[in-house]
């Protein structure tokens, strides 16, 4: 897909508005977003082709003059720039009682750079009609598999992101794509009804459309096991995390804890542990839009900072956090390209991108064989961080019991893994030599500000409480 025509048309307007506002503020930037999203879905009863929920089009102006930051979000910036600049300044005025109580920050960096970034993709090779046909095929394959399948839903979501960043010294634009395919079945047996899902993701649509139908057997087979799943007996177990849960652990246990806007607010214990051992010495963890190719792999962030690949934990030692432009300015550190917005209408916060543990040297079979009694746990349901107090909760869709070194077909569901972060991470004793990052996640800040993220890694062996 080419870069947005709309943003291209507004490039001159962005430059003119920056120039006008620079008369009043020390730092000015404009971010233009044009995100096209398509959602194609088919199930037993209904189907749909529509714009996806990630659709976004508009601008956000960021200003700084030595105290607080100011942001103004609007749908368009065409028209008289002097009038618009005055309106922005007027609308952002602080109430009198708050004027003298602002944070302090180092001057925002605005190093010269002009660059365009494009990632090749194959979106133009596939029509919506063809995507719908694939969804219908997937649905039919799943429904035909078993009379217990009450319904099956196939979903393909595409994302085509164009962003333009303009400041006094920088002019950046980027275009990249991402595709998620998902097949979900609702499976009924007697009084029980469960749902199971399988997904596939790529920057290329062709790959997803080819892979999705191949998931039908697997998802129905999984559902047939899950409907028989028993509750887990709460306790502390030897556990192996599948890559999805490894990623969830990376995300919840340490990803949120090293978001440096939390350092600014004294909300993260990790701030006091830089340079200290926080995990087993065999643990290495990274985050970054440039760390791997997945759903959060952009070229520059929503502050106009180029994508990074940040080593968060090396050999169990906490090395660094991740930050957006504003947090870095308050802390006097370098921003790491992690400033992200839910949409042009929302604030930029420090956010994770692609977060994962690096692979190790152990064979998964050896890891399973090393456990007398425990569980291997699979598939992210949800998680919740607690960076201040280092508690973590990760909810897996299901687990499979390991008995005498063998992975059994005894399924348990759901499985809640919880504990004190350093205890959990220091208990990691084996790390597999394979690696998978799942590009299907969404992450909130608190209970809002949703952005797309990926996470993953190898399988980990650890000791942790399940319930």
């Amino acid at each position: 897909m080419p870069f947005s025509k709309f943003l291209e048309c507004r490039r001159g307007d962005c430059v003119a508005l920056v120039r006008e506002l620079k008369k009043r503020f020390r730092y000015v930037s404009v971010l233009g977003s044009d995100v096209k999203a398509l959602s194609v879905r088919a199930n037993k009863n209904t189907s749909a082709i529509s714009d996806g929920s990630d659709v976004d089009c508009g601008f956000v102006v960021k200003l700084w003059d030595g105290g607080a930051f100011f942001e103004y979000s609007l749908d368009d910036i065409a028209g008289d720039k002097r009038f618009l600049a005055e309106k922005i300044e007027q609308e952002l005025k602080l109430a009198d009682n708050l004027k003298n109580d602002a944070v302090t920050a180092c001057p925002l960096k605005d190093e010269p750079l002009e660059k365009s970034f494009r990632r090749e993709n194959d979106f133009e090779n596939f029509s919506e009609e063809y995507i719908l046909k694939v969804c219908n095929l997937c649905r039919d394959l799943a429904l035909a598999h078993s009379p217990n399948v009450a319904n099956a839903t196939a979903l393909v979501r595409t994302l085509d992101v164009s962003k333009l960043f303009v400041s006094e010294n920088r002019m950046l634009d980027q275009n990249y794509t991402w595709v998620n395919g998902m097949l979900m079945v609702n499976y009924r047996k007697g009084e029980r009804m469960i749902s199971a899902r399988e997904g596939v993701a790529s920057h290329n649509l062709g790959y997803v459309l080819t892979a999705l139908p191949q998931l039908a057997d697997r998802v129905v087979d999984k559902a047939a096991h899950l409907v028989e799943a028993k509750p887990i007996q709460p306790g502390v177990y030897d556990v192996i995390t599948a890559p999805s849960i490894t990623g969830l652990l990376a995300h919840e246990a340490f990803g949120h804890g090293v978001e440096m806007d939390m350092f600014v607010k004294d909300r993260a214990l990790a701030k006091n542990f830089i340079g200290q051992q926080v995990a087993s010495p065999i643990c290495n963890m990274r985050d970054g839009a440039a760390a791997t190719l997945s759903v959060a792999s952009y070229y520059f962030d929503d502050d106009g900072v180029l994508a990074h690949d940040t080593q968060v934990i090396k050999n169990g030692i906490l090395l660094a956090g991740i930050s957006d432009l504003g947090s870095a300015a308050q802390l006097g550190t370098e921003p790491t390209g992690n400033g992200r917005r839910e949409s042009h209408k929302r604030k930029a916060y420090t956010r994770m991108t692609n977060t994962f543990f690096e692979k190790g040297t152990d064979k998964l079979a050896d890891m399973i064989a090393s456990i007398k009694h425990g569980y291997m746990i699979f598939e992210t349901n949800n998680g919740m961080e607690d960076p201040k107090n280092w508690q973590v909760q990760c909810v897996a869709e299901y687990g499979r019991e390991i008995v005498d070194g063998k992975l059994t077909d005894n399924y348990v569901a759901p499985v809640v893994m919880s504990g004190y972060v350093p205890d959990v991470l220091k208990s990691i004793s084996m790390i597999s030599d394979d690696f998978f990052v799942e590009g299907a996640g969404s992450c909130g800040k608190g209970h809002k500000e949703w952005v797309r993220v990926s996470d993953g890694g190898p399988a980990l062996k650890l000791k942790v409480r399940l319930g």
Partner: protein, 427 residues
């Protein structure tokens, strides 16, 4: 920039489209972000979101396609998009349904916020939040305030033209307690329909008491074995999950577990649960008068004395099932019990104050969560505890429910302020 009338005319001129609908959301948001008690960011967001849905009746079926119409969309581009939408809609073979028709209204959901400048409202809220902190060694480490005016309009080709204006506030605050070498926090998030500063101050003062208790909280030893008491935030999550099973859309998709006549409580030994879905409730930011199709919202009791008695849902899925639509209802009211809170808390129990997240899975009959702060009452003394979790069978726990007589409203929930459940594992 095309105005709404021009968009309507262009849509109506398309000969392939059988029907159409336009929704428009105009939002003005004034936002303040604090780091400790210092202003970090001041934001203003002005946006207009328009979504055009084109319906095509074909081959005994109905198809639709929805797309965004941006403020910069030109006339010829919109005409092309509508043509494209009719082509896509013709690929969809859904069972026919009837759009709402011939109703107009213009509603203001009244609030003090309608008469207050958003900047003043945000500043008043900030003052209130910081004034709530009277504890030594306690702080509000971060605060976010959003004062939002939302004008929602829905128009369709069958004569619906409805507008609703509503004012809401979102407050996110982080009460923090600092001890020697340790600091703990709670995460508090409120959606308010009015500028009820007294309520906000009192609520945050209570949360500051709680965060101070978290500093003293210890993991209990040995494991506890007692009933659990849930508060309003967790109750709203619990009853949302329970109610969702009776949505007509789920029934139509064959993914519901329960039907009318089934029991939520198969063997109630405590209070019998009565749950009504509502369109609006006094004090709830989730209140609305009509839904995205333009269907007027009608309250409906879906659970009576522990039995499922009715479903609820949009005109489309109600129509498919031959039921009367209620519209998409967002508020939940649960009938209070008769046990005064004081009595409910008089015997041994564990009162959950702060969870990492309540896990409720009606389909797999599960309830559980990691407890970050709770008060354990052993019959004599109330002690803050942490580092534990609980889980159990949802159906068995609901059979034991004791509902408090005291009522509370939080977000989209109104009902017992506290509910006591037995038979859950604490570990």
């Amino acid at each position: 920039m095309l105005n709404l009338q021009e968009i309507l005319e262009i849509a109506a001129a398309n000969e392939t489209a059988s029907e159409f609908k336009i929704t428009e959301v105009k939002k003005e948001s004034y936002e303040l972000f604090f780091v400790h008690d210092k202003v970090e960011t001041v934001r203003k967001a002005d946006s207009v979101e328009r979504m055009l849905t084109v319906y095509v009746n074909h081959d005994g079926a109905k198809g639709m396609n929805s797309f965004s119409v941006y403020p910069n969309t030109e006339r010829d581009e919109l005409e092309r998009k509508i043509d494209d939408a009719t082509r896509k809609a013709a690929l969809i073979f859904d069972e026919p349904y009837v759009l709402p028709n011939d109703e107009t209204c213009n509603v203001l959901l009244d609030s003090q916020l309608a008469h207050t400048d958003p900047k003043d409202a945000a500043a008043l809220i900030a003052d209130t939040v910081f004034a709530a902190n009277t504890h030594e060694n306690c702080d509000i480490n971060a605060l976010e305030i959003f004062v939002v005016k939302t004008v929602f309009r829905v128009i369709n080709s069958r004569g619906v033209d409805k507008t609703q204006t509503k004012f809401t506030v979102h407050v996110e605050a982080i009460p923090t307690a600092n001890g020697e070498g340790e600091s703990v926090e709670l995460f508090e998030s409120y959606d308010l329909a009015d500028l009820d500063l007294d309520w906000l101050k009192s609520e945050l003062a209570n949360r500051l008491d709680d965060v101070k208790a978290r500093l003293e909280a210890k993991k209990p030893a040995p494991s506890l074995n007692c009933p659990i008491v849930l508060n309003a935030y967790e109750l709203s999550k619990l009853f949302e999950e329970i109610a969702a099973d009776m949505d007509y859309a789920r029934a139509y998709m064959h993914v519901n577990l329960h039907s009318v006549g089934d029991a939520l409580q198969s063997d109630p030994q405590g209070d019998k649960i009565c749950l009504t879905m509502r369109g609006s409730m006094k004090g709830s930011a989730k209140s609305n008068t009509f839904d995205a199709d333009g269907t007027n919202l009608v309250d409906r009791e879906i659970i009576h004395d522990g039995m499922y008695v009715a479903g609820f849902g949009t005109s489309r899925f109600a129509g498919y099932l031959g039921k009367t639509p209620t519209g998409a209802l967002g508020c939940i009211e649960v009938r209070t019990g008769t046990t005064p809170t004081e009595q409910l808390l008089a015997e041994k129990h564990l009162e959950l104050v702060y969870l990492s997240g309540l896990q409720v899975e009606p389909l797999t009959d599960y309830i559980g969560g990691e407890i970050r702060l709770a008060y354990y009452f052993d019959g004599e003394k109330r002690t803050p505890v942490t580092g534990i979790a609980f889980s159990g069978k949802l159906s068995e726990a609901l059979n034991t429910a004791t509902l408090s007589a005291e009522r509370t409203v939080l977000g989209g929930y109104a009902g017992p302020a506290k509910v006591k459940l037995s038979g859950l594992n604490i570990f």
